[in-house]
Symmetry: C2
């Protein structure tokens, strides 16, 4: 059956959803619910919605909506290579970087699954040679540091994943193969700070820009080259320290300035590119090719699970539908992602791009304005740190902000200590459980300053440990959640026209050929004239 | 004249404010406005509101509101030692850590200005001795690393400031005196990761907990002690590597386990404590006692400027009033803080606590529920990185989110390069100017997917360079903005009762003596049972 692609408010089911009872969470939260209100995820994770205002009637209506909008069919069409990035007339193929779940997809004259596999093999062979010291720096020393130069999706995802897996890699009793650093910001203080900390002779750079024209990334390449010349006592051949990840049509492709070039293509958006060469190279260099394969397999398993037609057994789809309910029925404008895992300290920054850049849209896939709210504001910091920061407002502020918790039963490293009768990990778990209940149930008090209204909705993703596999499953969960929400809102989740205007105005200021508009020039002068 | 302390919606002026015209920003933004719509700040900074929907009539009404609510008098009363933390019956004295602007304040039997000065001198003498190597580790080696163990205000502010000043300290042609690291999270992976990177023999720890009973901090102290025993080949006397910042009534005061103990008191809340010993010790150790004094003087100058009665010459008060207007008249629930300075990459995380913990309140200072929105959600990442992350939603999402930009004319380090006819710093400035105009003016397009509605309000704080003095002024600006907003909303900005319930429920789970409630126990089991 063909996917109808209609606006959410034009569906019959959405009207029914709005009419459903809206229980206070404290009234429905029972021990049985904590047991039963959950959906399985890949890699041993599970999605819990006991503390969400979602009852059986909601689940049934969600199921009806998924069927009315043909959400699973739309996902299958995407996997089969249908043009889902409608504005830019492109297929959307990031799932194919971790395995095939649909028809063979051909584009640019090749089978795309083979293309991604070939690039992955290139990455892994390269990483193995670097680790085996058969590829070294130009002065003969082995590489011990990798610096990724990229911004947006070429930075946030790979960086978050590198941080997330460092403890795991170290817990295996071995040092990570290489130290990973990142340069992203056009602010020269960013690149300069990284360059202060590295030894040029033993550092390998990865320049990541799909188009080969990203202003920040090309500028930072120049900054790096200039520092290499300035700092280095021995003369370094920069082309033997610099690799590139770019598209085959980019001006960088085929350049002799790179030790090796790895390819991506237009069917993988920056924010969905962590499982392509954009993430593969830096992660394989830092932690080994095998670890990266485990990460991919976790993501692939989660992609497969997201094809499950039953909403209550499809965590990504269920999470997407609950998110829509919170946004479009209960009218909450934001959502906090709160990992109780310090290793995920930058994962929320990645989700911020993934979600807000995909779903921050005002027109539907046909370019017509939608008449309902789309993507919420996403923010967060790791617990328990966040408890001592902004939870005051979450508990007692005048707005309700729904919460998405993430927690694991085991730390990554083998350092845990018992004090006052419990381990640090048990204290972490106790804090997380306590917050879910505090937000859901609140607490009455005659002193209104000590009164907690409760009814603050939260979901929980939990698992045994943050491993490459569970991290892959977690990443895929959120990617697929965002994709499903885009389908529910009938928007194009895969373009980002909203970033163009700023680029054009910046160009006006920096090029000699155009006369910048008056107020623009005035602000620029304010920011440059001493 | 006595401060009336009435709810915002009970003032006469607020009703007039709601009735004012609400211009589209594009209609009022002229070159003249960019020149004129500004207020001076300390340390050469300035606050620009040209791209805010604020006209002369608004400024006049703001002035009337400030006078009706006696906001400057309330601030002066606070400086004079009036009990402003009403719920906890405490004075609010963080301003006194950087200089005196009111009457002598006596509490706990002492002149509080003298108390803070004495502790500052202790901190600075201690730092000088460490730098002079007259205080060394227990094996005789000089200290080269300082690790602060603390959470919330004992972590976010000091950490953000350490990151903010690293480039400045290095730009003076000298290495920072010591490397600074932080351990905050109860998650054992946080402490373990830091302990992997340090040499115990040359590391000095600072344990920061005002009450001496913060669960995370005391647990992390145990983790550190256990790692010192395990990792260290030479036997280390931990008491000669550990200092404390705590209150005189804390169980830690007078303990022989510390090389030295520095005192704070109940009149400085955690989120306002960066200028007390909580920030002084780590910053003085990392970058030198003199640099910290410069930082304090910038903050003190800004505190003085915040006493200015004319709203348009009082940036902190004006920023507070504009924020209220955006929240309570235009009904925007969030605000992004976007520093175009990579050195401020964690400054927003500190502001998130400062603002959301202070203003996330539902009752007024008399404990009565307020009938208007209080503190907004605060979030942000540094530009230009943020442009490649969530700006899509800011430009084209269905909600308007007001923006607070920060920018400087000069980088901290002496590394800047010219490419394609402009320096990195000029490109950074051009991007920032372009964003202000793009958000304000938008762009029409027949293709609705390329249409930018504009009318997205933004303010800009700019200055020559991020130095200790300008950073002090910046910190004080936001602290005083938050204070003024608390006065405008008639709330107590200085307590945090909303964090208590989670602590109580955590205790239920971890203590043997209480039987946790059923759903709480069930979530805890889910997070601990393998």
């Amino acid at each position: 059956m063909a996917v109808p692609y209609i606006d959410l408010d034009k569906t019959k089911t959405f009207q029914r959803l709005k009419a459903l009872p809206r229980p206070h969470i404290a009234d429905i939260l029972t021990r049985e619910r904590v047991h039963n209100a959950k959906a399985p995820m890949a890699a041993g994770l599970s999605f819990h919605f006991a503390a969400m205002p979602i009852e059986q009637a909601h689940l049934e209506t969600f199921q009806d909506l998924a069927e009315e909008m043909q959400l699973i069919q739309a996902y299958q069409d995407l996997l089969n290579g249908e043009v889902m990035n409608t504005g830019e007339n492109r297929k959307v193929l990031h799932h194919l970087t971790r395995g095939q779940l649909g028809d063979d997809v051909f584009a640019d004259g090749v089978n795309k699954a083979e293309f991604y596999r070939k690039e992955l093999h290139k990455v892994q062979n390269f990483a193995r040679k670097v680790h085996a010291k058969s590829i070294t720096g130009s002065t003969g020393k082995p590489f011990d540091t990798v610096v990724q130069i990229g911004i947006g999706g070429s930075d946030l995802g790979p960086r978050a994943l590198c941080i997330a897996l460092e403890g795991f890699a170290k817990s295996q009793g071995r040092k990570p193969a290489m130290r990973a650093e990142f340069i992203s910001n056009i602010d020269p203080d960013d690149g300069a700070a990284v360059m202060e900390q590295i030894n040029p002779e033993t550092t390998l750079f990865i320049l990541v820009t799909k188009s080969g024209s990203t202003q920040e990334t090309l500028t930072n390449r120049e900054l790096v080259l200039s520092c290499l010349e300035k700092y280095s006592s021995t003369s370094i051949d920069a082309s033997r320290h610099m690799t590139a990840v770019t598209s085959e049509t980019s001006p960088l492709a085929g350049s002799p300035d790179f030790l090796e070039t790895f390819f991506i293509d237009d069917y993988i958006g920056g924010r969905f590119s962590s499982t392509s060469a954009v993430g593969a190279l830096v992660l394989s260099l830092a932690y080994g090719a095998e670890l990266f394969l485990d990460f991919l397999s976790g993501a692939h398993d989660a992609d497969r699970l997201a094809l499950t037609p039953e909403v209550k057994h499809n965590a990504a789809l269920l999470d997407a539908l609950i998110g829509m309910y919170l946004r479009n029925v209960l009218s909450y404008p934001a959502s906090a992602v709160l990992p109780y895992s310090h290793a995920l300290s930058r994962f929320t920054a990645h989700l911020q791009q993934l979600d807000m850049e995909s779903s921050g849209k005002q027109v539907n896939r046909y370019g017509k304005p939608v008449s309902y709210a789309t993507g919420p504001l996403i923010f967060g910091e790791p617990g328990t740190n966040s408890q001592h920061s902004f939870y005051q407002l979450l508990h007692q502020g005048t707005d309700i902000i729904p919460l998405q918790f993430i927690g694991f039963r085991t730390p990554q490293r083998n350092v845990d200590i018992e004090s006052e009768g419990s381990t640090s990990q048990q204290k972490l778990a106790a804090n997380l459980a306590a917050q879910i209940i505090a937000f859901a149930k609140g607490k009455d008090d005659v002193d209104k300053n000590k009164y907690f209204p409760g009814n603050r909705p939260s979901s929980l993703i939990c698992g045994d440990q943050l491993t490459p596999r569970s991290l892959g499953a977690l990443l895929s969960h959120f990617e697929n959640k965002v994709m499903f929400q885009g389908l529910i809102w009938n928007i194009n989740s895969f373009d980002q026209e909203g970033v163009q205007l700023g680029k054009e105005l910046t160009k006006q200021l920096l090029s000699d050929s155009s006369e910048p508009e008056g107020t623009l020039l005035e602000f620029y002068r304010l920011l440059t004239d001493q």
